[in-house]
Amino acid sequence: MVARDTAVKASRAVSHRKALAFFLIPFGSLFVLFYLVPILYAIYQSLLTVEREGTFGPAVQVFGGLTQYIAVFQNEPFWASIGRVLLFGVVQVPIMLGVALVLALLLDSPLVRGSKFFRLAFFAPYAVPSVIAAIMWGFLYSPNLSPFTAVTSSVDLLSAETVLWSIANVVTWVYVGYNMLIIYSALLSIPQEIYEAARLDGAGQFRIAFAIKIPLVVPALVLTGIFSIIGTLQLLAEPQVFQSFSNAVTSTFTPNLTIYSTASVPNISLAAAMSVVLALATFVLSFTVLKLTQRRTAQ
């Protein structure tokens, strides 16, 4: 009896191990091939440098240590592009998340009728690919095509001073609804009992929003905030499209455009080093936001 029992257990353990391998190997191998290997390869590439024998000799790749990283630190257009997207993010991310939060709170409040319609209307732009959204807004900003001639005839929305904010508007337009939906989903998982107690105490909608709802959706705000930071530092499609509408968008307008134009020179190793620096910067920034907000909510 005992022997049979352990035999059953053992065979089950074996079948579990087989099943576990079956479940994990497809994702595991693809993750290694298309995530870990490229990351390691980028790091390896970034440590190489090209040397020539004499002026016209054949180019050979040799180990260059941190040569490329020194070149990255001396590359002014790259840092200028990082500064530009940081400025973009400092303004655009709070506006986008603020609007998303207000809309989510309104959808969740009893003040609004027809919330199903509004939810879908706000979310619709998320179904528009960035490239298409940028092309569309590029037309809307163009003085001779725009329906908003009152605006486009007084302000050149595609000039060097304004184009960054014109792009910010495109990003905001696409992603507000997505962020709103994530915050709204978090609002829906708040237990109703909490509101009942607050209402008995005579709290109105504003009081409930500020004292109960907003603190409870902070985790969702952190999540959307981190995704927005990653998105901002990785800006590519929108500015690339805007190059056909505005001369003010250069090939080094955002870090990813700088990397792309560096890679097509081609200076693969320098581009790889820039990618590594940018990925690290993205990671450090998202991680810092995560830690800071965690400490604040823990208090």
Binding site: S15, H16, A19, L20, F23, L24, P26, F27, G28, L30, L33, F34, Y35, P38, V99, L103, P110, L111, V112, R113, S115, A121, F122, P125, Y126, A127, V128, P129, S130, V131, I132, M136, F139, L140, L145, P147, W173, I182, S185, L188, S189, P191, Q192, E196, R199, G204, Q205, I226, Q234, A237, V241, S244, A263, I268, A272, L278, A279, T282, F283, F287
Partner: protein, 302 residues
């Protein structure tokens, strides 16, 4: 079960508004302000789409000379005909490519991520948390940072400018593993798995017949968001593909848009092409909204 938990369950299932419990009547002023905000926001979000719809119906002459927000001579079908016949119907091929990359890619990515997430949620094994944390770290790695090294690796394998160069990297969804782990832990009870084992079902069969059904809202959510991510992906096809016949629709329209200054007529095709390329996504979202909305509400954010 109290009434309020029932309401809550109902709300999270179908995202219903709460039954108004009638206690305090909100003032007419706040109600009006709230509705005004909603209407202004609706105008902001929908006007560009309305413009695109209207612009797509116009003849080339009317496009610049008539009111951009209202219809003129209705030439929608002529424009569509011009679009799908231009250069031997290359636009339709782009749409088909997008559907292939996004449809097949998202379907396989969802299955692969669900299997991994389910295994991490339901089996204890050594290194489980480490594995999960490495995958979570993958969520923070931006796709554009991977594109360049992927290009270098694929070119060493001689596989750039093929379907595989775009399709294979899209099969990995770390966020999908995260979501299915959370969802499987919450919605697939251990007792059901035990019961299936007693009935003699193997582990794999239990996953496909029992677990996938219980995880359905999360699976739809993962599928849709991966579908959108692949459909919208621009950088990877941009650097991987040279051959126009392999382009997804976003890359194709981007290339056309850069040619507008040399070939002005192409602008009309960019406009109608943009409209046609977003319709499939909007339809998919609307058709599946019940599933992905409850998947988001229940799974992702606890």
């Amino acid at each position: 079960m109290t009434v309020s938990t029932e309401t809550r369950a109902l709300r999270t299932q179908g995202l219903k508004k709460p039954a108004r419990d009638g206690g305090i009547r909100e003032s007419a002023v706040s109600r009006t302000v709230a509705m005004a905000v909603m209407i202004v926001a609706t105008l902001y979000f929908l006007t560009p789409l309305w413009w695109l719809l209207v612009a797509s119906t116009k003849t080339r002459e009317d496009f610049t000379t008539t009111n951009p927000l209202w219809f003129a001579d209705f030439a929608l079908f002529d424009n569509i005909a011009a679009l799908v016949t231009y250069r031997d119907g290359v636009f339709l091929q782009w749409l088909g490519n997008s559907a292939l990359y996004a449809g097949v890619g998202a379907l396989l990515a969802t299955l692969i991520a669900a299997m991994a997430g389910y295994a991490i949620a339901k089996y204890t094994f050594r290194g489980r948390e480490t594995l999960f944390n490495v995958i979570l770290g993958g969520v923070l790695v931006p796709a554009t940072a991977l594109a360049l090294p992927l290009f270098l690796l694929f070119s060493q394998a001689g596989a750039t400018n093929t379907i595989w160069a775009v399709l294979l990297p899209s099969l990995v969804s770390p966020f999908g593993v995260y979501l299915s782990r959370i969802y499987a832990a919450a919605s697939v009870p251990d007792e059901i798995i035990e019961a299936a084992r007693i009935d003699g079902a193997g582990e794999v069969r239990t996953f496909f017949t029992v677990a996938t059904r219980l995880m359905a809202p999360a699976l739809v959510t993962i599928f849709l968001f991966q579908f959108v991510a692949i459909w919208n992906n621009f950088f990877l096809p941009l650097i991987m593909l040279r051959d126009e016949s392999l382009f997804p629709v976003t890359l194709g329209l981007y290339v056309w848009n850069t040619q507008v200054s040399q070939i002005p007529d192409i602008r009309a095709l960019v406009v109608i092409g943009s409209l046609l390329s977003i319709i499939p996504l909007i339809v998919t979202f609307l058709a599946l909204q019940r599933f992905w909305q409850s998947g988001l509400a229940n799974g992702g954010l606890k």
